[in-house]
Structures are given as C-alpha cells and as structure tokens.
C-alpha cells in the first residue's frame, strides 16, 4: 500500500463517516442535536482539508485553510450556542438537576 492510496482511502472514509452526522443534522429532534452534528462535520472538514493537502502535495497552503476553518467552526458553534441559550436565571430553591423543566412552547 502506497502513501497516496492510503491518503485517498482516509479522505473517502472521512467523507462516508460524515453521513451519519448529516442524517442527525437532517432529522435531529431538537436544534441542539443538529448543532452537535454540524460541529462534528466542521471539525472533520478541517481534518479533511489536511488530508487533501497531503494528497496534492501542497500541505503548506492547505494547513492554513484548515486552521482558519477550525477557528471559524469554533466561533460559529459558540455563537449559535449562546444564541439558542435562553438566558433565564436558574431557579434558586430547586436546582433542576434531575427534573427537567416543562417543555417550552415550540418556537
């Protein structure tokens, strides 16, 4: 097995294994499920960029793309998490560790 064949195999396997995450993005019951899956796909895309750079022999160029992509992915996931978080104060007397609050009305 040559290095090139292994690189192609790794890239293809990464792409195929992204499909379950894509399924979770599509049918996830809550928006947080979709968000987790999007986060996974974004991280794997950064890895896939490094793999593509190895395949093309231009890793010096692609490694910067991967770094920027990882940074943007992190910022996006943090921003959407803060956006979806309804900043209600946690109840003081009954810390709701065990019992979840009533389901909020669907937006």
């Amino acid at each position: 097995m040559t290095t090139e064949g292994f690189t192609v195999f790794t890239g293809a396997a990464l792409f195929v294994l992204m499909l379950p995450a894509l399924y979770r993005v599509t049918v996830g019951p809550t928006s947080f499920d979709r968000l987790v899956a999007v986060n996974v796909i974004g991280t794997k895309t950064a890895v896939l960029l490094v793999v593509i750079g190895t395949l093309f022999g231009r890793l010096d160029m692609f490694v910067d793309f991967a770094l920027a992509y990882a940074l943007l992915n992190f910022m996006a996931s943090l921003a959407v998490a803060r956006y979806l978080n309804r900043t209600r104060p946690m109840p003081r007397k009954k810390p709701s560790g065990r019992k979840p609050r009533k389901k909020p009305a669907k937006a």
Partner: protein, 140 residues
C-alpha cells in the same frame, strides 16, 4: 526498432519504480497506524451520533470520539508529510501540531457550551424506564 529503444529515454520508468518502492518509510507506517486508529474512533463517534437515544448521550459520543479522532488523524498525517528533517518540513509539522492543539482546546469548550445551552433550554434526558415503556408500546 532497436534504434527507437536506444534513443528514447526510458529512465523515468526506473525512477518511478524506485520512487514507488521508497515511498513508504518508517514515519509513513507510524502515521498510517495513527490515522487508522483515528478513523476507528471516528467510526465510533459516527455510530454513536446515529444510534444513541438522547441529546446528552449523542453529545457524549460526538464530543469524545470527534476530538480524539481529529487529534490522531492530524498527527498521523503530520508524520506522513514529514519526509526530511529540513526547516520547511518541520515548520509544516509544527503548523499541523498547532491545529491539533487548537482542536484539543476548542472542541471540549464548544461541547461544554452546547451542553449547557441544551440543559438550560430544558432538553429532556432519557431516564431509566423510558426504553422499557417504549418497547412495551411497540409490542402492543
């Protein structure tokens, strides 16, 4: 015919053959092993993301498996890229390791932020009796 064979430069065949043979070094083998282990971990993360019943359990699979598989695959391809120990090659590996460090810092952070947002939003976890109840309902 013999003249054609003599005048044409066939040395590229020898170069290609030797290049193919010497393409796999010890560093390449170590990198391939690391990347394969990373792929196995990512398979676990993908299956968990597909199969688990609950937001929190899915988050568990995605957070851990995704982080570790990214680290392993990136480290493996950093080693595969490292052909000679020149300054340029080492700089590339250092850049790849910078991505590794960045993902190692940010992936648990974003997992934590998402988990906190989901918990404060009231996403319901699956409790112990739920699976049995669902099975009974499915039987009826």
């Amino acid at each position: 015919m013999s003249m054609l064979l003599e005048t044409f430069d066939w040395s590229f065949l020898a170069e290609a053959a030797t290049g193919m043979v010497s393409a796999v070094s010890v560093l390449d083998v170590v990198g391939m092993i690391l990347a394969t282990i990373g792929l196995v971990f990512f398979l676990g993360a993908a299956v968990g993301l597909y199969r688990f019943p609950d937001f929190y359990t899915r988050m568990h699979a995605a957070g851990k498996g995704d982080t570790l598989s990214s680290l392993l695959i990136l480290a493996g391809f950093g080693l595969i890229t490292l052909e000679d120990f020149s300054a340029v090659g080492l700089l590339l590996v250092v850049k790849v390791l910078a991505i590794v460090l960045f993902i190692m810092l940010t992936s648990p952070t974003s997992t934590h932020a998402l988990m906190r947002a989901g918990f404060e939003d009231g996403v319901e976890p699956v409790v112990k009796g739920d699976a049995k109840v669902k099975k009974k309902e499915a039987r009826k």
